[in-house]
Amino acid sequence: MKLAVQVNEGPYQHQASDSAYMFTKAALEKGHEVFRVFFYHDGVNNGTRMTTPPQDDRHVVNRWVELAEKYDLDLVICVAAAQRRGIVDEGEAERNGKDGTNIADKFRISGLGQLIEAAIQCDRTVVFGD
């Protein structure tokens, strides 16, 4: 089965990102293809490398990064949502005159078309939100 996963909430505040991660990991371990994980709304905040959670807590961002490394996962952050929330890569920094970036490795910023495309291409689209 070919899956698209959508994440609508940021890390820690809501369980949505946790559930999306656990689901995605289980799907990959079962041998399914996860075509893309699309981060929308506050979900874009999952893609910042600036977090430092307490040592006895899970690291929501790094967990996604490690999963992406292991399974060559496509983690896409919506550009419009990212601009509102302040998630910036080098291209965005240049375009919007920002003095730095905060995007985590393995995440990439792209347009909403990537979500539609994933939903068209995949057998199932699964949404995690608040």
């Binding site: 959508q6 609508n8 929308y40 709304h41 419009a80 949502a81 509102r84 347009g111 909403l112 078309g113 979500l115 539609i116 495309e117 939903a119 068209i120 291409q121 689209t125 949404v127 939100g129």
Partner: protein
Amino acid sequence: MSEVKKFMYLNRRAPYGTIYAWESLEVVLIGAAFDQQVSLMFVDDGVYQLVKGSKPADIEMKNFTPTYRTLGDYGVRHMFVDKASLEARGLTQDDLIEVEWEDWETEEEVDNIVEVIDADKVVELLDESDVVFSF
């Protein structure tokens, strides 16, 4: 995959209090570039998204109700509204905006694609869809 998929946008939230309604609409607008069959469903507080006369200037937000009126130009063929959700909120179709639709090739025109339906029809339409987006 060559088959055209049926996309349903399920809108259950009020506008302005949260951004979900507006950012959901942004997906619909972008989606116009893709080959799919698009419908929007408004149930629960989602019906408030179509209420006309919104004036958010004093809360310093952008009025995005006019954008719904243009959806006919963005490949949206149907906008369904749950009747019971309207009634529980003291609303009727007269309170909602109208959205025109025209097929540029066949010149077929529809004055208003906003249609109030009952719960059974909501279930049937959700069921027929290939993808249901919830924001």
